[in-house]
């Protein structure tokens, strides 16, 4: 099981801020989790956003960062604070 969080525009478009996903054999990186969601089709294809950012266990990371069962993963648009 992993937890996936969404923020801002993604949260609105996906109409959810949190998913619990069963762990899939073969998942190695956040990119695999993203691909798994995108293949669900609309509206999940919004995650194809080339500006997509992500975090693993509340640390910003890249899509090729390793993921493990039990992780909390977050996908979000480019940040715009400040």
């Amino acid at each position: 099981m992993i937890t996936v969080l969404f923020f801002a525009r993604y949260k609105e478009e996906l109409q959810t801020d949190k998913l619990q996903l069963d762990w899939q054999e073969g998942w190695q990186s956040l990119e695999d989790v993203r691909a798994h969601l995108i293949q669900r089709g609309t509206p999940w294809t919004t995650l194809e956003d080339p500006s997509l950012m992500c975090a693993r266990n509340q640390e910003m990371c890249s899509l090729d960062t390793a993921v493990r069962a039990g992780d909390e993963v977050a996908f979000f648009p480019m940040v715009t604070g400040g």
């Binding site: 923020f7 801002a8 640390e59 910003m60 648009p77 940040v79 604070g81 400040g82």
Partner: protein, 156 residues
């Protein structure tokens, strides 16, 4: 020495500015940045701004940015405060202060913290305009501003 705050409540930039020195007579230079909500942005008249964030990660990312600044420059104080939730035009939204013995370090650290905050801290702005609400898009110029510090990493 490092203070990080994320809050819905308004804050007073002047009060924070004065609190940075706090009687530490080794401090020669305090550089403060205050960001305010503008009433106009990219051809839109802005009536309000909603700040979403990632509770928990937000504080951690700001602390990490402050620590990285402290490793790069000999700082005597760092203060970061960012508001979240609903804001009106004219309100202060973010405050960053860096204190050091000399001005160059304080200027660099304050600019560095803002550049990193803009690209690495999980905040998202949604503007309320006369034609509805829209998420503010990330600016490539902010990415470029943050990237210049990577080139400086060795020489700083």
């Amino acid at each position: 020495m490092i203070t990080v705050q994320v809050q819905e409540a308004p804050f007073d930039p002047g009060q924070l500015t004065n609190s940075v020195h706090a009687g530490n007579q080794a401090i020669g230079a305090v550089v403060c940045f205050t960001g305010y909500v503008r009433d106009f942005n990219l051809q839109h008249s802005v009536q309000g701004l909603f700040l979403e964030h990632f509770p928990g990660m937000t504080e951690k990312s700001l602390e990490r940015i402050a620590e990285e600044a402290s490793q790069r420059w000999p700082l005597l104080a760092v203060h970061i405060l960012h508001r979240v939730g609903q804001l009106e035009p004219g309100e202060p939204i973010v405050f960053v202060a860096a204190a050091s013995a000399h001005r160059e370090e304080a200027f660099n650290a304050c600019a560095f913290i803002m550049d990193y905050l803009k690209t690495r801290a999980p905040f998202w702005k949604k503007e309320q305009t006369s034609t509805g609400s829209r998420w503010v898009e990330g600016r490539p110029s902010d990415q470029q501003a943050a990237a210049r510090w990577a080139d400086d990493a060795e020489s700083s």
